[in-house]
């Protein structure tokens, strides 16, 4: 196995404004993101050999992409992997370039959620026997918080404080990001006293449900070099799909094996042995604050049971040793399901190229994205590791 490391480069990216985009259709959002990627790369639709689109529920095939972007009969594939859908589109596009099938490809993720008239996540279900508990995502992830507090004997108040600190950090980062859905800072007590959504998770523990799109143009490093000096290299793409958590009574909700497996595979592929020191920044799947807390440990950024301590010490803030969700994360940038994975790559791309404006980190050479679909016990986890062009 040769792996993906340094075989694919990103030469252009775009990301729409996320939020309640009442005036924009899924097509409008894709055009907004892809136009930015064209401008960024200096390419046009005529240069794209093939495209992959990720959307969880906005449409079913590649046709809406061809229709919106007026592609001339190129291959377009729609992919879906729950909340890890966008990274899946990116991964398939990257592998096609690495395989030598195409020179220049597009990966685009999009979701139009706000037309459902429902403020939660409305994803249609296949016909079923109707006995699955009505357990929306907040209630499923809240079970991880309950058990995490129990296992590490964290008093409820202390646990809520740690989760609030994560929300406060992501709101701060979001306030520095004009494309984020939510751009207001919040205070710890505001998060702690917010109405319960699914106990123990309150309003500020839950990410935004948003409309949005994000796009990336990929090519080989050789072609990238001929186009620009500040391309970004794909260092690793790890994917792990699990389903055993609810079938095994010994899995305890305080770690997500899919994240552990996917990140380990990605670290191996990228040649990373100490993620906490070798990675400069990470965009992780903070669908809920408890998810971000557990991810710190699963990715090896914190020791098991010690993530709360690292949160308290500010390790993951913009000024910390390992800034996480510098763009506001799902919490504040928002979570258009099929777009989020590429939105994460977009922020890493901006940081690696020094274009993150008020959020710019002093050192950003290696960045990680972590995109999680499903629910505790049965996840799809997609990890990407990216390096600036001089890491090649």
């Amino acid at each position: 196995m040769t792996g993906i490391r340094d075989r694919v480069a990103i030469v252009g990216m775009g990301c729409s404004k996320f939020g309640e985009r009442w005036d924009s259709s899924a097509a409008d959002l894709m055009i907004e993101a892809v136009n930015e990627a064209y401008t960024d790369s200096g390419l046009s639709s005529q240069d794209i050999n093939a495209a992959w689109v990720g959307t969880a529920s906005s449409f079913r095939t590649g046709q809406p992409v061809a229709e919106a972007l007026k592609f001339n009969y190129i291959p377009i594939t729609r992919v879906e992997n729950a909340c890890a859908t966008a990274t899946e589109a990116f991964r398939n596009a990257a592998y096609a370039v690495a395989a030598g099938i195409y020179d220049i490809v597009l990966a685009v993720g999009v979701e139009k959620l706000k037309d459902s008239g429902f403020s939660g996540l409305a994803i249609p279900e296949a016909p079923n026997s109707g006995v699955t508990p009505a357990a929306p995502p907040p209630s499923q992830f809240a079970m991880a918080a309950t058990r995490y507090f129990h296992k590490y004997e964290i008093p409820f108040e202390d646990g809520k404080k740690t989760l609030a600190d994560i929300a406060v950090k992501n709101h701060h980062n979001g306030s520095l990001n004009p494309r984020a859905h939510f751009q207001r800072e919040i205070k710890q007590e505001q998060a702690m006293n917010a109405p319960m959504i699914a106990w123990p998770l309150g309003l500020y523990d839950c990410c935004g449900v948003s409309d949005g799109a994000a796009a990336a143009i990929l090519t080989t490093p050789e072609i990238a070099k001929s186009m620009r000096s500040d391309y970004v290299l794909v260092k690793a793409l790890g994917l792990s799909v699990g389903a055993f958590g609810m079938l095994r009574d010994d899995w305890d909700f305080t770690y997500f094996p899919e994240t552990v497996h996917a990140s380990q595979a990605a670290y191996n592929e990228a040649g990373i042995t100490n993620p906490a020191t070798e990675i400069d920044l990470a965009m992780v799947h903070d669908c809920f604050t408890i998810t971000e807390l557990i991810i710190y440990e699963d990715l090896g950024f914190s020791q098991r049971g010690k993530a709360s301590q690292d949160v308290r010490n500010g390790k993951f803030t913009l000024e910390g040793d390992l800034p996480v969700n510098t763009d506001g994360g799902l919490k504040c940038f928002g979570h258009p399901v099929g777009a989020s994975g590429i939105r994460m790559i977009y922020e890493v791309y901006q940081q690696l190229n020094g274009n993150a404006a008020l959020r710019q980190l002093p050192k950003a050479d290696i960045g990680l994205t972590h995109n999680l679909g499903g629910r505790p016990g049965s996840f799809t986890c997609s990890i990407g590791i990216f390096g600036s062009s001089d890491t090649g």
């Binding site: 016909p127 026997s129 508990p133 699914a198 998770l201």
Partner: protein, 476 residues
């Protein structure tokens, strides 16, 4: 010699009590939760009744209810499946009258006479509705009772029986109405329950050459407290002979009431050869003379006490809460929710073992227990046959949980939990009949058959977790 070999009652957890805001009465009534109906309560009573019985000996299940959810489609069949009765068991719905429960005893006795080695399970269950705030709404209660009739070591034998039919519009509900109606109760008392029941009881006693003083307990379905007291006086019965606590604490539970009174009387049997007179009114009257075969204590404390299940209730906070869960009014929601898709009948059919029989599997190769049963074992990851693990009577612990305030149920917050069975195996489910103040990781749980979803008349039933309500053998 055949008679009653086992019995049990199920009384739903919720109550309208003097502590309930908007309930003006000093008496109480039981209330089926939003996820209960006559079928689910019947399963609960049946499960308790059968907990030590040999299911292969059961010849028939007679299900009696005037409020069964299905008018066309057999309710008894759903109950039989949830109780894991063999498919050759004859299942019958008896309906139309609250007397159907004792008429079922009549039929069962004849069936057992034909094949004495077999037993017949009778389950009665009702959740009748009166118009909001009407006297019937006040006096009705919800609940179920089950008795097993057979010849294997009966606790009590049925010595004689009598039945008569009468046509009287005292209570009725046509098929298009949700609510029971009644005629003026003075006329009804004089010409219905009182005259017929007194006549029937006196006749069965005199045929056996017994007088009232020789009867240990009277088990009757008096419609309300006032009439119970009148019947007591007219029969010259004492307070001890005719206990009215069921009417005071639970209400008139329709089809199941006479059987519940019988269970309550059987609970109090103190010695051999004590007589219980069971009399059940409803478009006529059935009466039975029943004699104990031993003292209560000698039959062991493996049955749950009826009085304890009567006493372990939880008051609803308000009449409004009651009206909401009984769907007496339509409530609006602040959140606009996506429409749920209707259940797929083939999927319900295919998943019977998992959802209704509630069986997991134990891998024949490595012994790992998993729910639902897997074709490829999650532990050894090989394809092996697995053996059945019955989970309906299993205990579990609460491994972790959350409380969802937005999930769109009448039971807010919805308690979503992951439970680990003591048999091995894990399940994601909803917890019902719970006090949120009592929830904690590792709390012990039992399983209860409930309605999970309803769409255009197709109800998806399955099992939910609930805190353990009473321990077997506990005394009230």
């Amino acid at each position: 010699m055949y008679g009653i070999t086992s019995y049990a009652t199920y009384i739903p957890w919720l109550r309208l009590t003097p502590d309930t805001d908007g309930w003006p009465h000093s008496f109480q009534r039981s209330v089926a939760n939003f996820d209960e109906d006559a079928i689910t309560m019947g399963v609960a009573a049946g499960k308790l009744c059968l907990h030590k019985s040999d299911l292969s000996k059961i010849k028939a299940l007679l299900f009696c209810s005037t409020s069964a959810p299905y008018a066309e489609k057999q309710n008894a069949a759903v109950i039989a499946a949830a109780l894991n009765l063999p498919s050759h068991v004859l299942t019958v719905d008896l309906a139309g009258s609250i007397r159907s429960s004792t008429s079922a005893i009549y039929l069962a006795l004849d069936m057992i006479q034909a094949t004495p080695e077999e037993s017949v399970l009778i389950i009665s269950s009702d959740t009748r509705m009166g118009m909001a705030r009407s006297p019937l709404d006040d006096s009705f209660g919800d609940g179920a009772a089950a008795i097993l009739l057979g010849q294997e070591d009966p606790l009590a034998i049925i010595e004689s029986k009598s039945s008569q039919t009468s046509i009287l519009y005292d209570l009725w509900r046509d098929s298009s109405s949700s609510f029971v109606s009644q005629w003026e109760d003075r006329f009804v008392a004089d010409n219905g329950v009182e005259s017929l029941m007194i006549d029937s009881v006196q006749s069965i006693l005199s045929a056996a050459k017994l007088d009232m003083s020789q009867i240990y307990k009277l088990a009757i379905n008096a419609p309300n407290l006032r009439q119970a007291n009148r019947i007591k006086r007219l029969l010259n019965a004492t307070d001890s002979q005719l206990n009215t606590s069921l009417l005071e604490l639970i209400g008139n539970t329709g089809c199941s009431m006479a059987i519940m009174e019988l269970c309550l009387a059987l609970d109090q049997i103190s010695e051999k050869d004590q007589y219980i007179c069971l009399s059940c009114y409803g478009d006529g009257v059935d009466s039975f003379l029943i004699k104990s075969t031993r003292a209560y204590n000698s039959r062991g404390k493996d049955m749950e006490s009826t009085m304890l299940s009567i006493n372990t209730g939880h008051p609803l906070s308000s009449y409004e809460e009651y009206a909401t869960l009984k769907q007496l009014w339509e409530t609006g929601e602040s959140v606009r929710r996506p429409d749920t898709s209707p259940p797929s009948v083939p999927a319900i059919y295919r998943e019977q073992t998992k959802n209704i029989h509630f069986q997991g599997g134990k891998c024949d190769h490595c012994g790992y227990v998993q729910y639902p049963a897997q074709k490829i074992c999650v532990n050894c990851q090989e394809q092996h046959p697995s053996s059945v693990v019955n989970l309906s009577s299993a205990r579990a612990i609460l491994f972790t949980y959350s409380m969802d305030y937005l999930a769109g149920t009448t039971d807010v917050p919805l308690v979503i939990c992951t439970i680990n069975f003591d048999t091995g195996g894990r399940m994601l489910c909803v917890m019902t009949d719970r006090n949120i103040e009592d929830l904690h990781v590792n709390m012990p749980l039992e399983m209860s058959f409930r309605k999970i979803s309803e769409h255009k008349g197709v109800t998806s039933y399955s099992w939910k977790a609930m805190p353990i309500r009473l321990e077997k053998g506990e005394q009230a």
